[in-house]
């Protein structure tokens, strides 16, 4: 779950990470009022869950009331890399002496948190890291002992940054690590980490990703879930407990289990098809989950054929067949379905399907044959 900048900065404040004063707004009037309360100059920032806001024109300096209103009006409703701007953050402008990059991330490879620091902050840090890997300093933290002062000192001395900044930057890294652990984050990123002309160290941006599996520990964060940022079909799937991802093609794909679904996508692509979406009904899918899944898949208008690929382990194929039959009764699809049922109770499932005589449903015995058939039918 990606937090918006202003939400991340709320967490930062709660854990003592220094951030500039600022206020949230969702209208031009609100933004202007916030700006006047903060005092000019301010920066008006689009709040979207994606990087590259600055380049897209989503961050603007306002020196007075008129500029604030003009920028707020321009940014609200703007489309930034597929995300529509519904919210703004109005922040007191900072004097910029230096821009660093800092992050705490879960390193899956080392299975440890990793703290990162670079003197080369700013928008293109990813390229900097590729061009000059030495400029991005990284240290692993043993999660059982936690972030120690020496981790921060080492990053600071190796970056290297000015001697007067070793302590405050180290202290900020320690607090970012605290945010990372206490808030169950999988990413805490500050870019830029700002050194002001007065040599204060502040977090000018906040990118925080919270582990969705841990939201029960953070009821306050769970409430922040901004459903408006999600695709309506993805939202529909999530509400029904299904994993759904929208793609560009015309073949709807349903399977059980992430691995099998990914494999199905690959096989369809190998057969020359282009998936429109995919939906993982999960292990142990029951009939009503299958019915919901069909509804979600068909709500995408681009779908011209559907591939049902089920290998029943915990999932029972007779349950899947019943769900499919019920879905046809409710939705009455007008596109062809290719169904491959294998595994637990597969004979019973295939028998039920045959007896139901669903219109335009084709069964296949193997995954490869099913993929080829659906590509053919999708046209």
């Amino acid at each position: 779950m990606d937090l918006l900048e202003y939400q991340g900065k709320q967490l930062f404040r709660a854990h003592g990470v220094p951030v500039p004063d600022g206020a949230h707004a969702d209208s031009v009037d609100g933004a202007v009022q916030a700006a006047e309360a903060l005092g000019f100059p301010v920066v008006i920032k689009a709040q979207v869950q994606i990087g590259g806001r600055g380049k897209a024109g989503g961050i603007k300096l306002a020196k007075d009331r008129g500029e604030a209103a003009r920028h707020a009006g321009a940014i609200l409703g703007m489309d930034i890399r597929g995300f529509t701007v519904h919210e703004l953050y109005v922040e007191k402008a900072s004097s910029i002496a230096e821009e660093y990059y800092a992050a705490i991330v879960l390193d899956r490879s080392a299975k440890k948190p990793m703290a990162m620091l670079s003197r080369m902050g700013g928008m293109d840090v990813e390229e900097v890291a590729e061009r000059d890997p030495e400029a991005m300093r990284m240290v692993h933290v043993d999660p059982l002992i936690g972030f120690q002062d020496f981790h921060g000192r080492r990053l600071a001395f190796e970056a290297p940054i000015g001697g007067d900044l070793v302590r405050p930057v180290g202290a900020m890294l320690a607090k970012l690590y605290e945010v990372f652990v206490r808030e169950d984050a999988t990413l805490v990123e500050v870019n830029p980490l700002l050194v002001t002309e007065g040599r204060d160290v502040v977090a000018l941006d906040a990118k925080v990703t919270i582990d969705g599996n841990a939201l029960w520990r953070h009821p306050d964060l769970a409430e922040l879930r901004d459903l408006s940022a999600e695709d309506p079909q993805e939202r529909m799937a999530k509400e029904r407990g299904l994993t759904y991802v929208k793609l560009d093609g015309n073949i709807g794909i349903l399977g059980n289990g992430a691995g099998l679904v990914m494999s199905t996508l690959d096989v369809v692509a190998q057969a020359g098809g282009r998936p429109a979406n995919f939906l993982d009904a999960g292990g142990g899918s029951k009939a009503d989950a299958i019915t919901s899944a069909v509804e979600v898949i068909l709500s995408d208008e681009k779908v011209s054929a559907v591939l049902f690929n089920i290998f029943g382990g915990i999932t029972r194929c007779d349950e899947v067949a019943r769900g499919l039959i019920e879905a046809f009764r409710k939705v009455e699809p007008d596109v062809p379905f290719v169904v491959r049922l294998d595994g637990t109770n597969d004979e019973e499932g295939r028998r039920l399907l045959a007896e139901a005589e669903l219109p335009n449903v084709h069964t296949e015995a193997t995954m490869l044959a099913a993929a080829e058939r659906v590509v053919e039918l999708a046209g």
Binding site: D184, R217, G257, G259, L265, D266, T344, M367
Partner: protein, 292 residues
Amino acid sequence: MSVLVDHDTRLSVAGITGREGTFHTLRDRDYGTNVVSGVTPGKGGHDVDGIPVFDTFHAAVAETGANTAMIFVPPRFAADSILEAEDAGISLIVAITEGIPAHDELRVYNHLRRGSSRLIGPNCPGILSPGKANVGIIPAQFFKQGGVGLVSRSGTLTYQIGNELAQRGFGNSSIVGIGGDPVPGSSFIDIIELFEADLETELIVMCGEIGGDDEERAADYIAAHVSKPVVAYIAGFTAPPGKTMGHAGAIVSGSRGTAAAKAEALEARGVRVARNPAQVADIAGEILGARV
């Protein structure tokens, strides 16, 4: 032979009194697994179809000699249950539970790694040694005893591949689901090391997917340490890249983590990589000779 679970397994199940826990425990017992006890706090003294239930793993170990734990409790209690099993001295812990917070997994992983207990999972289907023991939720009916050691990050894909192998006449020494979570207790390398040492295993199949670099690391390990033939399958060549917000992920992983990078790393070290599940069985047939 086989790895991890067999006739010496003495299984105790955390969450045995839950609906899913009871269902799969009895299913495992029906398969022949020696289920000696279960653990549900507050249900000590009860039984589940004759299987005694204890309040703690410590009591389950003391009273029933459990050496293997299966964790079936809800995600918010799972880390505690795993740590309890470890504290009680259980040497193999199989965590089926899905949805455990990543930070819980980090703490559990780094704690267990420094001790002597092995964790499989979480978010995995468990371990099946056909004809000997089933610890988890793998549908055993598709698999028979044989020489292919199968290790996988995915559940249903494992069944799919096992089934393809079975249809060509290949059985399995053991099938180990290591789970698809960001911080699994055991990696491909850990299990491949066991298969390499297992006398019954003639060929190793590893079934990976996008994300992380476990497959890439396994490729290096195989090149350096594995004498047996290895066949790999990687799912997710056409999966869309995740929408990642920050830069850190990309900086950390670089181009690693894609299915293509994984397949390339494996092939560069002489591991044959199948393009679909059926091909895994084709390649196994080429290596071992057709069985059907």
